[in-house]
Structures are given as structure tokens and as C-alpha cells.
Symmetry: C2
Subunit: 235 residues, 2 copies
DNA sequence: ACGGATTTATAACTTGGTTATGCATACAGG
DNA sequence: CCTGTATGCATAACCAAGTTATAAATCCGT
């Protein structure tokens, strides 16, 4: 009854190869023939397992959200929920910076065959699943926001609404930075993202002093976790 | 065959047709053969005037920024710079809501042939011009931010940095809303965008009361200008 | 009016998604 | 074991769409 994949599951290997080639060679590497050759199969594998390239790309997009969600989950929770929000922001930004091609697809967007049409086009099954996975990633922001409210750092408010504001700000920065609008390199973090986080925290009820201290706490934690070798250090 | 009147400006007509077909039929309408037929020419026109589809699409992307910039310019300046920022936000969001397909291309993004690869891919001449046009649109936000600082509504700060924060928040909301993450309809404006604007204003130094009043002022001005609530209309 | 330069139409070439077809392999029931 | 059926898969073809080669047509400066 349960459909037993007879050999090593080609489906997962196709998605895996797609993600790898995507980051190595850009979206033009997302081709049925290339992927099939990569896993040692013929193009038919794409159609037996996905029905077409569009569905495979949607699966790649979903994988981006899954990866993002996993990264955010690793941030964990400390006693300073506002610092945790800064850490989530750094992590979100880092994920996109490390795999820009993947997240260009994930965020709606790259559409290697022009198949995933609009940003608001959720016609396919896989497309809806990807959006669902996006909300899963969003949950981490909601949780931290909720804790910030409970801790009295943020004004009492609907945590979903407040988190949606934070998500918008964060997502907007990351997207614009990835589009090159804030110049190259890491400077956007200190010049825009962190000040943006402080602005948001203060606007949501925190004091300037505590928000700045939480930003510093998160920065220190970030350095400790990633190691400061190779980082552009500037005060 | 009747002698053809010399086509005056095929280049502009191609871009115009591309934008129109894009909103009517989605990105799959952005095809050399379709566009050529639309303006009564052969596919060669695409190559003599643009060199290829990629450059034409970049030109469409640039047109989106130009349109956005024009819309934002129409907002004008009142005595309440914070209200002006809310008006700019509503306008920015409205532009994207009315032509989602166009701005999906403009924002980096739709890539009908998989040609415009990454969000950060600025390899082509037209691509750089499009980014430049984006900064032009950004200027309006900078100007309003500067006036808010001068008026004492925002704390003294670098107006570019503060404006970049506002742009990030606005762009993020618009992008996520267009992706369907905030549900359908207009509810995202009152539930997220306006509260986000208030959060940002307060975080940048304004008081809650004045920020809320500016939001109301902008809302009233918006209603006066658009008549009915901004439903998806067409020109 | 002439001659080079530019634009254009036609048609072929190329790439890449898709599909038709047949074989092979897994598994169920004898 | 043998056999029948279903499913995965390779081959090869099909088709759509970007691109290019070529030659005719048109434009413009002199």
C-alpha cells in the first residue's frame, strides 16, 4: 500500500542537487537535463517525481524556508528576549547572505523558468506548502516578541501584529541588501540593520538604553558563536 | 503588401507592450515572439533595440522604479513630514498592489527567462540603471525623513540611515504582503503597515500621540485623494 | 542621387521543458 | 519458482522560445 521507493530515492537527490547547483552556478543551473545528469538519471525522473520543473523549483523554495526555520530555531532563547530578536535578525540575514541564490528562489522570486509567476501566485500545491513553511519560520519571531512583551520590554500588544512588523522590517532590509541597494559587504548590518532593530524595539516600547544594550549583547553572542576571524571588525 | 510607415519608436512600444501584457497575462507573456507580434514587428526588433530579452526585461524593471518614483513625487510635501511618510508608504504599497506583476519584475525577482539571476546580480548595463532608478525613488523617503528631523519629530540622525530603515520596513511589508503572507485584501494596511509606521516614527523619536495623529492625517488625505478605499483599479 | 549605416523580415539554429513509448524491475498471488 | 501488473526509468522525439545568419529595405549625410 505505501508507495515504496524501489531504489535510493531519486526525488530527494534531485532537490539536493538543485540546491547545490543553484548556489554554485546560479539559477540557470536549475535545468531538468543538468539535474538529471547530476544524479545519474534521465530527465524523466523529474516528471515521475515532480510532474515538471515548476514543482521541483517550488520544492527548492520550500527547502529554503525549512533551512531558514532550522537556523532560527538554533538561536534559542536567553533571558533577554530583545537580544534574541537581534540574534534572530542576524541569523536571518546571514542565511540569505550565505545562500542568496537559494533565497532568491525561496522569496518568491527568481523563477528560473518564469513558471512561478507573481509574488502572490500560490496556485500549485508545493507553492502553498512553501508559504506554510514560511509561516513556520515566522513563528520564531512571534515567540521572541511574545517574550519581550511578557518581560515588559515591549508594550502590551498583539504579538502577531508586533512580530509581523519586525518581520517586515527584517525581511525588507535583507531583501534590499541582497539586491545591492545598500552597497556591498557587511556595512549594512551596523549602519542600518542594527539601528533599525533599535528603532523597532524603542517604537514597540523598549527604552533606547536597554535596546542598545541588547543589541550589544546579541553582537557579542554572535561573535562568540561565529568566531571573529574573517569578520569585518569596526566599532 | 502596403508599404509600412516607418516605425517611429519600436523600442518604446516594445517596453510599453511588455508592461501591458505583463499585467494582463503574467510574466509568461514576456516573450520575444509575443511582444514582436504585439507591436507588429518581428523578433529581430528585440535584438536590434535591446540585444536580447534580458535587457528588455531589465528595461521593464527600470520602468517599474520610474513609475514608483513618479507616484511618490505626486505625494508632495505638507507641513506634517511624518504624515507625508505615511502617505508615501500608502502610495508605495498601492503601486505594488495595482501592478504586482510589474513590481515582481522590478524588485529583482520574477525573472521570466531565468536570466535576471540573483537579487544581487547587477551585471548588465540596464540592471545597474534599474538599481539607480530605485535609489531615485528612495530619495523621496530621504527628503521626508530629513524634514521630520528638521521639524524635531525625529531625533537628530543621519537622514540616509533613518530613511533606509523606513524603506526597509516599508519594502518588507509590501513584499511580504504581495507574497500572500499577510492574507488577502486590504487588512494588512490597518493591522500591520500603519502600526509599523507608528512604531518606526516613535522609534525614531516621535511621540506616540503625534505619530498616531499623523497617521490619521495621512489616512484622511488618502481617502480624499482616492475617493473610495483603494481597490485595484486600472488607468 | 549615391553609399554606407541601420533596421527589419525571413528562416534557420539552439536550448531546454515536455511527452510518447517500451523495457525493466518490484511485488502479489498462485 | 512463475507469472501478471504496476511503476520507475531510459531513449528519443516533440515543441516552444531565445537567438542568430542573411539579405532586403529604409534612412541619412554628403
Amino acid at each position: 500500500m505505501s508507495p515504496k521507493p524501489r531504489a535510493t530515492d531519486v526525488k530527494a537527490r534531485l532537490v539536493e542537487a538543485a540546491i547545490r547547483l543553484l548556489d554554485e552556478s546560479g539559477p540557470e543551473a536549475l535545468q531538468a537535463r543538468k539535474l538529471a545528469a547530476e544524479v545519474g538519471a534521465s530527465t524523466m525522473a523529474v516528471y515521475t517525481h515532480f510532474g515538471g520543473m515548476a514543482a521541483l523549483v517550488d520544492e527548492v523554495a520550500r527547502a529554503g524556508y525549512v533551512r531558514l526555520s532550522e537556523w532560527l530555531a538554533e538561536v534559542g532563547e536567553t533571558g533577554d528576549p530583545v537580544a534574541d530578536i537581534f540574534s534572530l535578525a542576524r541569523t536571518y540575514r546571514q542565511a540569505v547572505a550565505e545562500q542568496p541564490q537559494l533565497f532568491a528562489v525561496t522569496f518568491g522570486q527568481s523563477a528560473p523558468g518564469g513558471k512561478r509567476a507573481t509574488l502572490s501566485d500560490l496556485t500549485t500545491e508545493e507553492g502553498r506548502e512553501a508559504a506554510q513553511e514560511g509561516l513556520e519560520a515566522f513563528t520564531h519571531i512571534v515567540r521572541a516578541t511574545e517574550r519581550a512583551i511578557e518581560a515588559g520590554r515591549f508594550r502590551a500588544a498583539d504579538e502577531y501584529q508586533a512580530a509581523a512588523q519586525l518581520w517586515s522590517a527584517l525581511h525588507g532590509f535583507v531583501t534590499l541588501e541582497a539586491s545591492g541597494h545598500f552597497g556591498p559587504g557587511e556595512q549594512g548590518i551596523d549602519h542600518i540593520l542594527i539601528p533599525l532593530g533599535i528603532t523597532m524595539a524603542v517604537g514597540l516600547g523598549d527604552t533606547v538604553e536597554r535596546a542598545e544594550r541588547s543589541a550589544e549583547t546579541a553582537k557579542a553572542a554572535w561573535r562568540a558563536r561565529t568566531g571573529n576571524a574573517g569578520q569585518v571588525g569596526n566599532d
